[in-house]
């Protein structure tokens, strides 16, 4: 692997990680097209390398969030049954999927993410702290209102279904899948946005770990590429968090939705030609 290519992958990882943390999503949805269409790597390699960065992001973000009570460990573990099953199923079957349907799926999911990113619901779902949270609910300190708030989990089967789909999409396309389950947990399952995002960030590590060892065994994780991408993503997501604290960039969301729409169109073309 040439120095130039390593530098390119590190830069791609840094940009993807930075955008991901600025927008509150993993960077996989940017990294996969970057590696695949930008640097000309096979989709299989791009997917496997991206899943490695998903695990790194998950571990780093969750380590940083630990102790703030926003991660719901118990809800996360219950939903991980579904997301790991989805990831495993994709890891086993995706080899039989031909390029056309794969590109079409990627095009549809990026289009969906672009729409979700601009229309994302932000329901608060919070109750006063003395309420009974049930088996899976939680409490956390909400900085905006400067008090402890509680929430209860509703419609668990819907949350499980969303997690299973997110897991299958993760193993198929090489993304974390948080963008699929966070809005559903937030809008319909009673989980406020911050615990939904923190719990999802924890979950994507196990979700990716359910599929990526299979790709690794098939020789699709090119080690130097994966190393460069992981290091880039870790650096980029740190930088993104640092900027994110300083700038609330609404325009950035709109801009990235446009970028994703363009990526989506590109993969529609790839699928149909």
């Amino acid at each position: 692997m040439s120095l130039l290519l390593v530098a390119g992958v590190v830069a791609a990882g840094a940009v993807a990680g930075g955008l991901g943390s600025l927008l509150g999503i993993g960077g996989g949805v940017f990294l996969v097209p970057f590696l695949n269409a930008g640097l000309g790597m096979d989709f299989e390699i791009a997917r496997a390398v991206s899943l490695m960065t998903v695990i790194a992001t998950s571990s780093a973000v969750s380590a940083g969030a630990a102790g703030r009570n926003t991660i719901n460990l118990r809800l996360g573990m219950v939903l991980e049954i579904a997301s790991a099953a989805g990831g495993l199923a994709a890891g086993i079957t995706v080899e039989r999927m031909s390029k056309g349907p794969l590109y079409l799926t990627f095009a549809l999911v990026t289009a969906l993410i672009a729409v979700l990113m601009v229309t994302r619901l932000e329901k608060r779902n919070v109750l006063s702290a003395d309420v009974d949270t049930g088996l899976l609910g939680g409490r956390f300190y909400e900085a905006e209102s400067d008090r402890e708030v509680a929430y209860r989990v509703k419609r668990l089967p819907l949350g499980l279904a969303a997690s299973a789909i997110a897991g299958a999409v993760s193993g198929t396309l090489g993304i974390g899948g948080g963008i699929i389950k966070v809005p559903i947990l937030n809008a319909w399952c009673g989980v406020p946005l911050r615990p939904a995002a923190a719990t999802s960030a924890l979950m994507i590590g196990v979700t990716a770990a359910a599929s990526v060892p299979l790709f690794y065994a098939r020789g699709q994780v090119d080690p130097p590429t994966a190393a460069a991408a992981v290091l880039g993503v870790l650096a980029g997501s740190r930088a993104g968090l640092w900027f994110g604290g300083r700038a609330r960039a609404k325009w950035l969301k709109a801009l990235m939705a446009l970028v994703l729409a363009a990526v989506s169109l590109m993969y529609f073309k790839k699928a149909l030609w």
């Binding site: 790194a56 940083g64 009570n69 196990v206 065994a217």
Partner: protein, 105 residues
């Protein structure tokens, strides 16, 4: 001293945070060393060993998080979550078994 359930969960969150932090730092160091060595020396056993170690530690970190959670839930005698965690662990074990046998190691 009596520890409540909530205290035990807070403690678990901190323990898991440390575990994830250690995992991601160790793997990043191995990956950085492996990448630099492979650029400097070309394909060498040391470089590819460091890269492999970094990638394996990276993949093992979330799995270790599940294992540690399982131990803690057993100690808490929280059987619902013991079974939940066992199910996640079984799924991950299937992945590792399939990967292992396919790699022919």
């Amino acid at each position: 001293m009596v520890t409540t359930r909530a205290d035990a969960l807070d403690q678990l969150e901190l323990t898991l945070g440390r575990l994830l932090h250690a995992g991601v730092i160790t793997s990043a160091l191995c990956l950085a060393a492996g990448l630099v060595l492979s650029m400097a020396l070309g394909r060498s056993a040391v470089a590819s060993g460091a890269l492999t170690m970094g990638l394996v530690i990276l993949m093992a970190t979330p799995i270790m998080r599940v294992v540690v959670s399982l131990v803690v839930y057993v100690r808490m005698r929280d059987w619902f979550f013991v079974w939940t965690t066992v199910m996640v662990f079984v799924l991950l074990s299937v992945t590792i078994f399939l990967a292992w046998t396919k790699a022919g190691i």
